[in-house]
Symmetry: C2
Subunit: 377 residues, 2 copies
Amino acid sequence: MEFKVNSKELEKLLSKIIPAVPTRTPMPILENFLFEIKDGSLTVHATDLEISLKASLNIVAEENLKILLPAKLLYDVVRSLKETTIVFEILPNGKVNLTTDHGKYNLSYLDHEEFPEIPNFPDDSTDKEDLNELNMNGTDLRFAFEKTSFAMSKEEMRPAMMGTLFEFTEEGLRFVATDGHRLSNLLNKKINLGIEAQYVLPERAVTVLLKILDEKDVKVYLSKTHMSFKLNEFELISRLIKQKYPDYKSVIPLENEFTLKIETKELHDVIKRMMLFSTTNTRRVKFSISENNLEISAEDLDLGASGKENVNCEYSGDPIEIGFNSAYVNDVLSHLSSEKEIIFKLHSPTKAVVVLPTEENENYELMMLLMPVRLNN
Amino acid sequence: MEFKVNSKELEKLLSKIIPAVPTRTPMPILENFLFEIKDGSLTVHATDLEISLKASLNIVAEENLKILLPAKLLYDVVRSLKETTIVFEILPNGKVNLTTDHGKYNLSYLDHEEFPEIPNFPDDSTDKEDLNELNMNGTDLRFAFEKTSFAMSKEEMRPAMMGTLFEFTEEGLRFVATDGHRLSNLLNKKINLGIEAQYVLPERAVTVLLKILDEKDVKVYLSKTHMSFKLNEFELISRLIKQKYPDYKSVIPLENEFTLKIETKELHDVIKRMMLFSTTNTRRVKFSISENNLEISAEDLDLGASGKENVNCEYSGDPIEIGFNSAYVNDVLSHLSSEKEIIFKLHSPTKAVVVLPTEENENYELMMLLMPVRLNN
């Protein structure tokens, strides 16, 4: 059989699906696209068993079809073409001919039965009691991921922390990510489903969504086991992380009474310089805070080098010396760079520090947490 | 003692010297800058024993000085600073204090005696009989390196081919690079010293010069052992490769009578697509040439995939089938991309192919060579 498709339309479609194709996998079958033609519509699927992506396109085809095509090779060929019509001719010998204005290409295809089953979510088997849905602006969702996902853990010891928490509360929808050293927490105050529930979306789904989300609305479905994101022409389904998210609220100090107000960019520039002097191992940087003065210092014993700078600030509280991992301070400041001024709320050299923007926003609340490191002097 | 320097001026100076600092070296002493202050002038040196760079700057200093400072750390600190005055204070305990508007940094320095001797070339010990010099426009020198240096060999078995040949002839100054699979040859017709001589400049000198050359004139000194390049504020001295350059002329076919004229960009686009189908091992692509038609094909047996395209061309000669390594064809075409049309001159499937621009240029001649690969069908 044959079908025809415009090369640029197919390129656009495949570019949205290829992020789900794993690059190194013990299951080579996952390195294929599933092409499904049904009633003149081509749907392309890909999955790494954790997430799956699909998107559709109307095409010229007389028959229905389901085959597996090598994802990377096909995508590379299609995007190397100028705008042209590609005629796909499926031969019975396991080969596909692609004919274009440029030339002829010949690929091998595989039987679709070899591909793992692609979940359909929600579908008839989904427990309606367990199903929630919401509409969310794509820009808002992207913003939430951008502000929080950097803090997700990479350590497989605690699987729940390798994802981003979606927490529905009375105040709104809260996004939380933490690796135990720093935490980022964004509350979207516009979304209220009237439920209290937690869902943990794995890192890979977040990463792929960050490549795909635009300003268009997204429809999100949630159950105990799956989450799906439907954009216009496009759908991502992800398994959820089963493990319960740690009780992050217990580490957020409520009564950190010392406040340090400081310009974000100025502090960030100092931290970037101090990173040059913080030993690779502990990466420690020391904040010595007294009335309206913050001294930041670091020392690299291996290199026999050290640095010390003073930064203007507004401080109310007892003089305090506290250490941080400079890479984590840098991460937090990078993700607060849109805020002109921020506040550090502190209590003691061993208690978590809260970092907040000084300006309130009617749509969201952003709060980050930094765990101090021990100063052994 | 103390000296003062503007941070942005020092950053600019160090940025030109740091390319000579080796990143991985069995001699950690080479990871330092040699700072030499003499009569109010700061000269910074670096070397990897093959090449050395130096540049100078007038500064405020009362005494003379020679110390070694950690290159990467110092450069990173200096470029992280806004424009400010840096006061260097050299302490007797092996430490240097850097004081700026921002803060204070403390580095370790080493005794300059530990640094290898930096060659001075030409100097009084240079044999004047053996010394040649020329002035060359920086853009012309850059152009020559850009068109040829990609073809230098990376194989240590034949050291001479790991450099770029400077060959002074009656026709001009010829630049040649080859790895035995492809060759690039640029003749600069404007330069004629009236000598016949060959010098082989090592890859690292070429790479560093490509980072530094601009439109300003360069003064070049040449001897049997060294070459130096003096730009305004800056000097590079390189050892030369001692081994004799191979007799590249013997492989340039003089009577390839079949000519194929073709649009560079169109051919390049086809080759890029065919690279997707040329097996990683031999990377072979086949040119099947007949009257005014070039068919290009490739096959990847591992993937069970193949591609075939036809390209318009003007061909005069017998029909011929010839194979190339697609990566080398791609390299050659990338470095001819400024030429609208090119000519392939061929003779047989086993003889080297000459590739030329169709348009002549009054200032230079460019010629590339591609060795064919065997077609075993």
